[in-house]
Structure formats: C-alpha cells, structure tokens
C-alpha cells in the first residue's frame, strides 16, 4: 500500500484489525501445537468401501476454526478437497425444515437417537419413520422432502444451499457419486422399504439419486469451519453475510447434531466434547460452538466407530482446553473468543 493512501473507512478498519488480531492470536500457537502433535497419531483406518475413498492419503490433516466474526485460524491440509459424505445430512435436514416446515418433516423422520448402526434398516415400529435424519434411512427420507420442480432443480437447490454455507462455488465428485450409486444396494433397499410404508413419495428413486449426490459434494476443512460458523452465527455465513438457514431452524439442526451426529459415539461425544457435530466417512468433522464459531477437521483415518481419529482428538482437546462444552455453565465458549482476540502475553 502506498504511504499517502488515505486510511480505509472505519468499518473496514474494524474488519482489518479483527483479522490482524486473529492473525496475532495466541490461539494460533495452541492450534499449531495440536496439529503438530496429532499429526503423529497414525492410528485408524481409511474407509475402503469404494475405491475413491481408499485412495485418500492417511497423512492428510487439516484443522480450521472460523469465528462468528469471520476470522479464520487454520493449519495443515485445510484446502484439500474431500467428499462431505454424512456431514451433508445435517445441512440437508436444515433445508428440509426450510422447505416443508417442522411438523411435515417430523411426520416423516424422527429425532430419536438410535443405538443401531448408521446403515441399519430399522424403522420405528409404530410410525414407520426412520429414527433420525443422521442415519442413512432418515437421511434418504429427508432428501425426499427437498423441493424442486424436477430432479435437476432439486440438485441445483441443494448445491446452492451448501454453497451458501461455504461461501464459495462447490462441486460434486462424479466418480464418487457413481461408485456410491453402484454399490449402494443397502440404501436402495431402504428407499424401497420406506416407499412401501408410504414414508417416501413417488419420486423416491430420484430422491435416492439426490442422496448419493449430496454425499459426493467436495468440501475442505476450511469450508467445514465456515459451515459450522454459519450455524453458530444463527444461520448467517460470517464471511459473506448471506443467510443459509433461518435462525429458528438452526436450533433443530444443532440439537440433532448434538444427540446423533457422531454415529455410535454420539452419546459419549455429547458427554465429553459437548458440541453439536457431524462426521463423515471421508474423514471430515464439523463442530459448532454456538455463538462463537465452527471447527472443521479433515483427516481420513477412522476409528472403530467411523469417526476421524485426529478429528475426534482435536475437537476433544479444543473443547477441554477452552471450556467449549455447550452445557457447561459459566464461561461457555467465551474463553475461546477471548483467547482469539487476546493479545499474546
């Protein structure tokens, strides 16, 4: 910048200073140390059920935090694209709420955590609803609720929804999509079963396609942090100022993430980490610190429950270190916000 350029206007100055504060934040040291240490943990196995996922480098590890004022602190492979997989379920559920309203969605998909596996073919015996939108059956039924005149329009609307959360153009990985579709016999069976019970409509086959597509969207750890921050920020993307979901519906999405977001580890996660979160089989995890920001982690090796090993460890440590447990009374996430803007002493 030339020396005689006038000072930028005041609101821009605030944003600039905010960026500088986060660039100078002592949290960077914490994150860098955490990233360095967890990089050495090479336990866990990369998912192999389709060849595209098996190709992932087990060393990939990106860690990103985005605050509700749009400041980002991140380390490692934060720009490495990977497929969003099950993480999409939380966001598509939010979209179904927007499209159909709470009661109509509840009529088709429950909100009850289940001890069964994510791919179990179990429906609620009384209502025939899938237990919740975070298991495959529930996610497929949720997909059926996405509005649109025809299939292309539904795909476009869904991509646009994810784009609004990320604040950038996003794409579907077509080879992952084709693999998911070719090998997704179990998901196909569930769709037919739910159709049989009248829980899915006439377009159920297209909805299944849409489900395979939503799982194949490419995102990065940086994106996940911004997506999390958008939910943390009452539905408004803090980088772009664009609304992705109404503030009213955010709480429904977050409570499902808290109770059902981490597969069979959900209970212990809510207990130990205490953050609404969702993980995916490609190694991504998004965690939300309500009112404070989002955490995005990507690292492909998974533990026995199907969650990213480094991702679980990173979120657990961050939560403990900064007191982020959302049910903790007292400081809550303030310690992190303070640390983010604190001067390094």
């Amino acid at each position: 910048m030339s020396t005689n350029q006038p000072a930028p206007p005041i609101d821009e100055v605030g944003a600039l200073l905010g960026r500088m504060r986060s660039a100078a934040s002592p949290v960077r040291d914490v994150l860098r140390e955490l990233h360095e240490r967890l990089s050495k943990d090479d336990s866990g196995e990369v998912a192999t059920y389709i060849p595209e996922l098996a190709k992932a480098n087990p060393g990939w590890f990106g860690l990103s935090i985005c605050t509700v004022d749009g400041n980002t602190i991140e380390f490692g492979d934060v720009s490495q694209p990977f497929t969003i997989q099950s993480i999409s379920k939380a966001f598509v559920y939010g979209m179904a709420l927007e499209d159909r309203g709470l009661e109509n969605v509840l009529a088709k998909v429950g909100v009850e955590p289940t001890g069964d596996a994510f791919n179990s073919i179990v429906l609620d015996e009384i209502s025939n609803r899938p237990f919740n939108p975070m298991v495959n059956a529930g996610a497929i039924a949720t997909c059926d609720l996405i509005n649109g005149a025809d299939h292309p329009e539904r795909v476009a609307r869904m991509l646009n929804m994810i784009r609004t959360y990320c604040g950038r153009e996003i794409h579907i990985d077509h080879s992952v999509f084709l693999s998911e579709r070719m090998t997704g016999h179990r998901n196909r069976a569930m769709a037919h079963l739910m159709r049989n019970f009248g829980m899915m409509g006439e377009k159920f086959e297209e909805s299944l396609e849409l489900y395979f597509q939503q799982c194949s969207i490419l995102v990065t750890a940086s994106d996940l942090a911004v997506m999390g921050a958008t939910l943390a920020n009452a539905g408004v993307n803090p980088k772009t100022g664009e609304r992705a979901i109404s503030a009213d519906n955010v709480k429904y999405v977050l409570s499902l993430m808290l109770t059902c977001g981490m597969y069979d580890y959900a209970g212990e996660w809510a207990f130990r980490v205490g953050l609404p979160a969702k993980s995916g089989v490609a190694g991504g995890i998004v965690a939300v610190i309500p009112g404070v920001g989002g955490i995005g982690v990507f690292s492909p090796p998974l533990d026995a429950k199907g969650n990213s090993v480094r991702g679980v460890r990173a979120c657990t440590e961050l939560s403990q270190r900064f007191g982020l447990h959302c049910l903790a009374t007292g400081s809550g996430g303030n310690a992190l916000l303070e640390a983010l803007t604190a001067r390094r002493r």
């Binding site: 020396t3 005689n4 000072a7 600039l16 390094r344």
Partner: protein, 257 residues
C-alpha cells in the same frame, strides 16, 4: 522488559531502519540476545546498516514465508561485526539479523501474491523461542499495511518515528489511532531529524498534545549521520555524539519499561 518491539512511521524515510539498527546494537551491548527482523519485504534495507551482504544469505524471511525453510535458517549472527568478539561458548551478548530478500523476483512475488500475515506471526514467535531471544526488533515498511498492523498487534512496545514535518504530524495520527485500537501496551514517540535551533519544548508540547502521549526522544538531525548514509552503525562509529547519547538513553528507557 518488552520482548517484541516494532518500529513504524506513517511516511517513509523518517529514520526507522537506522534507529532500529542502532537501538538493537545498544540493547545487545547490555548483555542480551537480540534479533532484528526486516519485515519491509517490499523495500528491504536494514541489512545495509549492519554491513550484511545479501548475496551471502542462503535464506531470507521470504524463504520462510513461502515455506522453503524454517525461520531460524534465515537468521544470521552479526555479533562479531556489530558488538565485537564474543567467546564462542557465550550465549550473550548476541545479535541476529533476519533479512528480507533483495532479489527482484522475490519482491515481485510478494507484491503480486501477498502472503499470509499469520504465518509471519508464527515465524516471529518461533524465532523468539528458537533463538532464545531476549528482545526482537521489527523493522517495517512505512505506512499502513497488513504486516505493519500485524507487528503492532504482536508488539509489547511500539516505537513511532516522525520528523518535525506537518505531513508526518498528520499521518502519524492514523498510526497512533490504529495502535491504540490494537491495544499496544507501550508506545514510544520519537521525533527524528530535529534541526538545530528549533524550539524543542514547543515541539515536544505540540506532539504530545496531538497524540496524547509522551515523546520518548527528540533525536537531532546529524550531519555525520547524513554522511554515513546508512553505511554503518552510527552509535558504534560516533559513540559520544549527542545522537548516540540520545539513542542510548532511548534504549535504556525501552528496556526498563
């Protein structure tokens, strides 16, 4: 004692680099491990005052910012030339310089692509830890830009230089305001190149009224400094000169703050 001290001025040529280099040497001579980093990536220059040949630099700050080396690999021990012989085993005093690259391509790349200022922050802290520095001086590019603001944000003390010049007066107000908003713990306003015969009390009063903060030093305009033309360390060359005496006093004040 402040760990990180940066020197700024709103306009160019106020004497940042010469003041910083001399303060660094005077500070090291107190028996401290001192580093000097040139974050003026667009127009580096402080290495000249230390008599450092950029061609002898295998790595520079630029290499660190592009991820080509660790920041300590871009630090050069200047103790012997600037302070004198120190036993090899002695950890103190020490003076290290982290230069910026003078290669046209490197400067062009920074102008074209910019860089992650957060990475500069990481590097500065790695440097302080890795070299076990007592004090790190940051020399900066004039005016308001990202690395300037970053160095203010991470500094324990800020040395603001200006000349007795109306343009400097006005512009410095901007830096003072930004520094306040970034909550810099200590601010040292230094009026440099003060010509003989000027009413020093009045000058001091004017500056203090304008920025609501104390003037830490009035440094005289010196013919010898002009003639030296950044060709060496003034305080070493003319240790008894009033300018050197004032610089020494300023370094004392900085270190005891």
């Amino acid at each position: 004692m402040p760990k990180i001290i940066s020197t700024h001025s709103f306009r160019g040529g106020t004497g940042k680099s010469n003041t910083t280099a001399n303060l660094a040497v005077l500070t090291a001579k107190r028996g401290l491990r001192v580093g000097v980093i040139d974050t003026d990536i667009q127009s580096p220059g402080i290495h000249v005052i230390f008599g450092f040949d950029p061609k002898s630099a295998k790595s520079s700050l630029n290499d660190y910012l592009w991820g080509r080396c660790r920041i300590e690999e871009a630090a050069y021990d200047m103790t012997e030339g600037c302070i004198g012989q120190v036993h090899t085993g002695d950890e103190r005093p020490r003076l290290f310089l982290i230069p910026s690259s003078l290669r046209t391509g490197e400067i062009a790349r920074v102008l074209r692509e910019g860089y992650d200022v957060a990475k500069l922050n990481d590097g500065i802290h790695e440097l302080v830890e890795g070299l076990n520095l007592d004090v790190l001086f940051i020399d900066t590019h004039p005016g308001v830009n990202e690395e300037t603001l970053l160095s203010i944000a991470i500094s324990d003390a800020l040395v603001l230089t200006l000349r007795p010049d109306q343009q400097d007066f006005q512009g410095t107000a901007v830096t003072v305001e930004l520094a306040r908003r970034l909550e810099v713990p200590r601010m040292f306003v230094v009026v440099n190149k003060v010509p003989e015969g000027i009413d020093q009390d009045l000058l001091r009063e004017q500056v203090e009224a304008a920025y609501q903060c104390q003037v830490a030093a009035l440094l005289p305009l010196s013919n010898e400094m002009v003639k030296l033309g950044s060709g060496g360390l003034f305080a070493n060359r003319y240790p008894d000169h009033p300018l050197s005496v004032s610089l020494k006093r300023l370094s004392d004040e900085l270190m005891t703050s």
